[in-house]
């Protein structure tokens, strides 16, 4: 077996040193009846690299590849071009095959990278501090909700109807067990968001208001009035960003008064990967840092006074505090954080703004063309690179019909909100820099056909 260096001679010699007659003697604590006599029954035996690659390649070819077709899906995962050097960097063995930096003297590479990542995330979100990553955006949002409960000592959270339904579903699942009080509602296909309703719902029991920005339908709303209303009632504003590239074009949630900003970092550097692994972003005000979940890299000095970095404030964490920790999270998503930070470093502010402008311009052009198709209406007034259409027909079958024509033409709200009649004709279209003129032509033509 190519991954196992020991030879039979090594094994015999080592057993001799150990003083055991056989390998089985080393398993003597396992009750006899629980020990398998041979390899697990009914499973294949080892295979060559070529055979495994052939099998996996065959499976991969059963999928429609986003890059092979006109592609317009978003709703929490976005297709952007990732520079080749990003993948090269994350495949450096010293970064790919290292562990959590528990020994900082020989993990400065990871630690400095995380310190830079934290700084970039904090700046992008308009916050004072950010952590070293969470699993993904959806789990980061739940962690933000329970963090707000620790800060305010209240347990009622109002979640905007514009938050990604999977994120809401994760929060509802957790709240069932923690007995947190979540107020949720369904979105309406209107140009305006539910900002006023949220403000009206805030009361003295409210711990936090959660708003997605831009929201699941691609709408953008000024968070300032919501933040002011929340703060006036002693509550926090949590903003959720599922498309961080948008923040190259629009104001950051932190600037508008959000206390905790969480997000999905997938769209910068990570790629689609059928939903994971992704990288949760988590930022907040400095005064709340001790209530934060997850790992934090911090600056310090070594015994000679040289600058260096360590994991810090770990008295919040499970390996020190056990059941009193701020979260149970241990492994986070550092390699995806590296992809994020490397891509953002390559972009820089200039590149991020260009990328955002390009996305927005493409989306504006596409929205205009699609809205001109008879029977199709554009829901949004404002949007970044994603907007919602109402079709004259149900969107879900329309999406499948477009697949028949070789077009991945958006996410139907029927997929995200099954059984909600009022949303069945809604189609969410994301347009990034990867969409060509020909792609947009193909989308327009296929939508015309399926709506005719």
């Amino acid at each position: 077996m190519r991954y196992l260096p020991l030879s039979d001679a090594d094994r015999s010699e080592m057993l001799r040193v150990i003083g055991a007659g056989s390998i089985d003697e080393l398993f003597r604590d396992v009750p006899e009846e629980a020990r398998l006599k041979g390899p697990v029954h009914g499973l294949p035996m080892h295979a060559s690299e070529m055979a495994v690659e052939r099998h996996m390649t065959a499976l991969s070819r059963k999928n429609m590849v986003a890059g092979d077709v006109p592609f317009f899906l978003g709703c929490g995962a976005y297709r952007h071009h990732v520079p080749a050097s990003v993948d090269h960097i994350i495949q450096r063995g010293e970064l790919l095959t290292s562990y959590t930096p528990y020994q900082p003297e020989i993990a400065q590479g990871t630690l400095q990278m995380l310190f830079e990542f934290q700084t970039q995330v904090a700046r992008l979100f308009g916050c004072e501090v950010a952590n070293a990553s969470m699993y993904d955006g959806s789990t980061a949002m739940w962690e933000a909700i329970v963090m707000s409960h620790r800060i305010t000592r209240r347990n009622k959270t109002i979640i905007s109807s514009g938050v990604h339904p999977h994120y809401v579903s994760v929060a509802r699942t957790m709240a069932k067990f923690t007995e947190d009080d979540l107020r949720t509602s369904l979105p309406a296909l209107t140009a305006g968001t539910d900002a006023e309703a949220l403000i009206g719902a805030i009361d003295a029991e409210t711990s936090a208001v959660v708003v997605q920005y831009p929201d699941i339908l691609g709408r953008i709303t000024d968070l300032t009035p919501i933040a002011e209303a929340a703060h006036a009632a002693g509550a926090l504003l949590i903003a959720v960003v599922t498309e961080p590239v948008a923040l190259g074009a629009i104001r950051s949630p932190g600037e508008m008064g959000a206390d905790i900003v969480v997000g999905e970092g997938q769209s910068i550097g990570v790629g689609l990967q059928f939903g994971g692994p992704y990288v949760g972003l988590f930022a907040c005000r400095e005064k709340h840092v001790r209530q934060m979940p997850g790992r934090l890299a911090g600056e310090t000095v070594d015994a000679e006074g040289k600058r260096g970095f360590v994991l810090t404030l770990s008295t919040r964490e499970q390996h020190i505090r056990r059941e009193k920790a701020t979260s149970n999270i241990c492994t986070s998503s550092v390699l995806c954080a590296l992809a994020f930070t490397a891509h953002l470093t390559l972009l820089g502010e200039k590149g991020l703004r260009q990328l955002a402008s390009l996305n927005h311009a493409r989306a504006c052009e596409t929205a205009e063309r699609l809205a001109a198709i008879p029977g199709i209406k554009l829901v949004n007034d404002g949007f970044f690179n994603e907007f919602t259409l109402t079709l004259p027909v149900e969107a879900r079958p329309a999406v499948h019909a477009m697949v028949e024509k070789g077009v991945l033409g958006g996410v139907s709200l029927g997929r995200l909100y099954p059984g909600v009649d009022a949303l069945q004709n809604g189609l969410v279209i994301a347009v990034t820099e990867t969409a060509t003129e020909q792609d947009i032509d193909a989308l327009e033509a296929s939508l015309k056909e399926v709506c005719a």
Binding site: D10, I18, S60, R61, I89, L95, E105, I106, G137, P277
Partner: protein, 522 residues
């Protein structure tokens, strides 16, 4: 005539720092690297874009007006920045990484290659299901392997890491108890457990109570039995445990827990010791997470991503989370999520993540499993256990091995700092190992052993590699016992000397800012 009259030794710290000082601070291949914020500028970029068509914007009046403060680097500068940073990291690609309970084994590059096939890497999670049949087949194939290897009934694939898997298992348990109208409030956790176990139980809304370990490093069965009662929802056991020992009473523990109406959660972090040899399903376990980033070699990446599928017993399977991939009689695969759950999986406790789990880890783990096959995986466990016992028996005369007399260990060997002189502790031995070119073992965990040193070599180390490590530990252990205080200064050859963690926590600097940097320069 003496060959070396000055007594100069190349390894003496004074010589390293003094005579070898350079104007750049670099030392040949050891290169200092400034922060991105010190070398980049907001006008620089490493990505070229087509010209942006000018037109009206529809940003709702929320255009960014202020600078964000994100410096950029050109591509050559960026590649050099991260390459230089990478060289300040230890990694399994460089050498033995014997962190106990972390299973730092070789990461095969075939796995990286298959994960990057466009059919897996460039597929959106919300694509229509007829366009992702191959991806769903990967999830399903891996799920079937995990079921066969564990002898369990069901598997939840979506948890994102080990601790997330623990949460999944406990929520299944809680849902099962609530379904029978049974409100239980307590989860029992051995004091040797990973910190995630009690943290997860608390996160799932339970009160945590510790159960003590026996002198032999196992769960104290009598103490456990006497604590079981109608308020106990679950017992979380790690097996093999964090002392590197198999719990021989596992079946008796499971029987007692079940008799009391509770469930057995097994922390599967140490599954590498028994994969292909022992099936947790045969031991009465109700739920166990599997760290794909440990046993099945998906890369740790400096702290994740992980992946923590949870295998479930027949009693818990109905409560497993959404979504999951299912195979239908017509040979097609579908995602069971909220829409069809009412018909197909009505008791699901809910959803743990957006989308379907760590697909990029599933492809890697499946390639790893197919490469080994049933025979290779059995060999993995045997070689992992053989390597650990070889270390145990090769060091037990120089380091105190508290449980060595009770028999062989499993995949990791544990030692204490007993006998170290002059206030030298585990950390000093660990830091001295850095100078010898090794990553240290897990230190001060589990808490039940004083100054614990937990060594997990894994099966991907050669005998020569183990022998070199053993030689280094033996030498340092002798120095520790003789009270050699120079150990307290180690490491001296690493990119940094010991770092001031107290300062970092007392005055946290978590992001870079111009003003803090200016103050530091004064």
């Amino acid at each position: 005539m003496t060959v070396n009259p000055s007594g100069w030794r190349p390894s003496a710290p004074a010589n390293e720092q003094g005579e070898a000082a350079t104007v750049t601070g670099n030392r040949a291949l050891m290169l200092e690297e400034p922060l991105l914020f010190e070398i980049g500028s907001i006008g620089q970029t490493g990505v070229d874009f087509a010209a942006v068509p000018q037109g009206a914007t529809r940003l709702g009046g929320l255009e960014r007006s202020k600078a964000i403060g994100l410096p950029g680097l050109s591509e050559p500068e960026a590649v050099r920045h991260y390459t230089r940073l990478s060289r300040q990291n230890y990694a399994i690609d460089l050498g033995l990484f014997p962190l106990g309970s972390c299973t730092m084994k070789h990461n095969p590059r075939l796995n990286e290659k298959v994960a990057r096939l466009p059919g897996f890497a460039d597929v959106h999670p919300l694509q229509p299901q007829e366009t992702v049949q191959g991806a769903l087949q990967v999830v399903n194939e891996l799920a079937l392997w995990l079921l066969d290897l564990t002898g369990m009934h069901g598997v939840a694939m979506s948890p994102k890491a080990g601790a997330h898997g623990e949460l999944c298992g406990l929520l299944c348990i809680r849902a099962a108890l609530e379904a029978r109208g049974d409100k239980r409030e307590v989860v029992l956790v051995p004091e040797s457990a990973h910190g995630t176990n009690p943290a997860t139980a608390a996160f799932a809304g339970y009160r945590v109570e510790n159960i003590p370990a026996s002198a032999a490093g196992r769960v104290d069965l009598d103490a456990l039995k006497s604590r079981l009662g109608p308020d106990v929802a679950a017992v979380m056991i790690t097996n093999p445990n964090t002392c590197g020992l198999f719990e021989p009473d596992m079946k008796a523990i499971s029987d007692a827990v079940h008799a009391a109406g509770a469930f057995v959660y097994c922390d599967g972090a140490n599954f590498n010791a028994i994969v292909g040899k022992v099936r947790p399903g045969d031991l009465g376990i109700d739920a166990m997470h599997i760290n794909l980033h440990k046993t099945f070699s998906t890369p740790h990446g400096g702290g994740g991503p992980g992946s923590g599928p949870v295998v479930l017993s027949e009693a818990l399977s109905p409560y497993g989370p959404l979504p999951f991939a299912a195979k239908y009689p017509d040979g097609s695969y579908r995602i069971v999520e909220e829409e069809t759950a009412g018909d197909e999986h009505p008791n699901a406790f809910g959803r743990m993540v957006a989308f379907h789990g760590q697909m990029g880890m599933f492809t890697r783990a499946l390639a790893y499993i197919l490469s080994h096959g049933a025979d290779g995986l059995k060999q993995v466990a045997e070689d992992a256990v053989l390597n650990a016992n070889y270390i145990l028996r090769s060091l037990e005369d120089v380091l105190d091995a508290p449980f060595a007399s009770s028999g062989p260990c499993m995949h990791e060997a544990i030692f204490s700092d007993r006998g170290f002189a002059n206030g030298i502790s585990t950390i000093d031995l660990a830091k001295a190992l850095i100078d010898e070119g090794f990553h240290p073992m897990t230190m001060y965990f589990p808490l039940v052993v004083h100054g614990a040193m937990l060594i997990e070599p894994t099966e991907t180390e050669s005998k020569a590699s183990l022998d070199q490590f053993i030689m280094a530990v033996r030498s340092i252990a002798e120095r520790a016992k003789s009270g050699d205080e120079t150990l307290k200064a180690a490491p001296v050859h690493a990119p940094r000397r010991r770092l001031d963690e107290t300062l970092a926590a007392r005055k946290p600097v978590l992001t870079w800012s111009e003003s803090v940097a200016a103050q530091a320069a004064e």
